[in-house]
């Protein structure tokens, strides 16, 4: 299983402690390609794209509008 994680240090948590998952671009249980944009985070006014680290089946752990911080694991990919 590969982790879909919010990169450490992606934003300055002193200024903005949390962000949210703005959108998932694959349904729970659907298949993703490695490198494809699989989710979008919103941290205050900035959006960040999260790429799938591997190809396989996506299991969503943090749904849309869920809260995230750097290091949060949003989901897991069950590699083929």
């Amino acid at each position: 299983m590969a982790d879909v994680a919010v990169p450490e240090g992606l934003w300055d948590t002193q200024k903005v402690p949390e962000g949210i998952v703005a959108n998932w671009f694959c349904r729970d249980g659907g298949t993703v390609e490695a490198g494809a944009t699989v989710a979008e985070l919103m941290v205050e006014k900035t959006t960040y794209e999260i790429a799938a680290p591997a190809a396989g089946r996506l299991h969503i752990l943090v749904p849309k509008d869920g809260v995230v911080r750097p290091g949060t694991i949003l989901g897991r990919i069950e590699e083929a």
Binding site: A22, N23, C26, R27
Partner: protein, 343 residues
């Protein structure tokens, strides 16, 4: 192989544009904040990185000039996509749209085409007040020479944008802000859909029956499709089956699908976020009545924004907007199941 990939409507639009730009060097995009910013409503996200400043151009705040330039570039053989940031801004550049883009093909007897897309953000419901919340479907559908398109979801948005870019006539592409799937504006779940990877086209002039039903026909477009579906789901719990038709394009308008549906249900309700008088709701009802009034078992009804400037304060704006509750109430009344007072 079915795609598992779901996209927001804004990404579907920018993907459509990117795919057409890859295939045809004549396609380019210009508008305010469409380059690095990716469009205020995300319609041109990531295009600058792939295609560069020549083909993805930020313009000064000069709608008359850059929409007029779009006309000229299109007449010279390019296929410009020009963004009018908010449809409400049409006042400063309407001449280029309705007197030039829309008419030059006609004036020239078909010799000079204007293959441009003007895309623009519509809609309210988030307290942006009277000059930034309008929908204006009728304003553009009414004037001859423009094709007018308004998707309700990501799948349709990509296919309609591809059709728009490939069309040799000027196309006015109206995307509702609240359907774009932007992180900073609430958006219905159902607007985010599976979107195939390939460059597919959704034809103009073909409405979609989003939900089948035998009791009432609800005709609508854009954001109101989602309100209608919400109402239909609530009504279904009471055993009332509403048929919901998403028009998808206003020009050309698929009246046949509406006629067939009303012939089946006998009841017509039209819902539009645009102002009520002299608009889409009147057009659909008039068309149905002209075609065959005898199929109607109840008076046709319509729910639209009242003829008032859009108020700022939330309770007032929400009072004025069509919503699922108003739709369900109207259906009840049409079926004789409730208050006879007009909405």
């Amino acid at each position: 192989m079915p795609s598992n990939r779901i996209l927001t409507m804004s990404r579907a639009i920018s993907e459509a544009i990117a795919q057409e730009m890859r295939g045809d060097p004549n396609v380019f995009v210009m508008g305010e904040d469409i380059a690095k910013y990716g469009g205020i409503f995300g319609a041109t996200a990531d295009l600058l990185d792939e295609f560069g400043e020549e083909r993805v151009r930020d313009t000064p705040i000069s709608e008359t000039a850059f929409i007029g330039a779009g006309v000229g570039a299109a007449m010279s053989g390019m296929r410009p996509i020009v963004e009018l940031m908010f449809v409400d801004f049409f006042g400063v550049c309407m001449d280029a749209i309705y007197n030039m883009a829309a008419k030059n093909n006609y004036f020239s007897g078909g010799n000079c085409t204007v293959p441009m897309v003007i895309m623009t953000a519509t809609g309210g419901g988030y307290s942006d007040a009277g000059q930034h919340s309008q929908t204006l479907h009728a304003t553009f559908a009414h004037l001859p020479g423009l094709k007018v398109v308004a998707p309700s979801n990501a799948y349709d948005a990509k296919g309609l944008m591809i059709s728009a870019i490939r069309d040799n006539s000027p196309v006015f592409f109206m995307f509702h802000k609240g359907l774009q799937g932007l992180a900073w504006m609430a958006s219905p779940e159902a607007a985010v859909t599976e979107v195939p990877d390939d460059a597919y086209a959704v034809p103009f002039g073909k409405a979609k029956v989003v939900r089948q039903g035998k009791d009432v026909t609800i005709v609508t477009i854009s954001m109101m499709v989602h309100r209608a579906v919400e109402a239909a789901e609530a009504l279904a719990k009471e055993g009332i089956e509403a048929e919901v038709i998403d028009l998808r394009t206003l020009v050309p308008l698929d009246r046949e699908t509406v006629f067939n549906s009303v012939a089946k249900t006998g009841r017509l309700l039209v819902v539009d976020e645009d102002y009520k008088s002299f608009g889409l709701t009147a057009e659909i009802i008039a068309s149905v009545v002209e075609n065959d009034a005898s199929v109607l078992k109840a008076k046709p009804r319509r729910i639209a924004f009242p003829d008032i400037p859009i108020p700022y304060s939330r309770p007032m704006e929400q009072f004025a907007l069509p919503n699922a509750e108003k739709i369900a109430t109207a259906v009840h009344e049409m079926l004789g199941k409730g208050s006879k007072k007009a909405a």
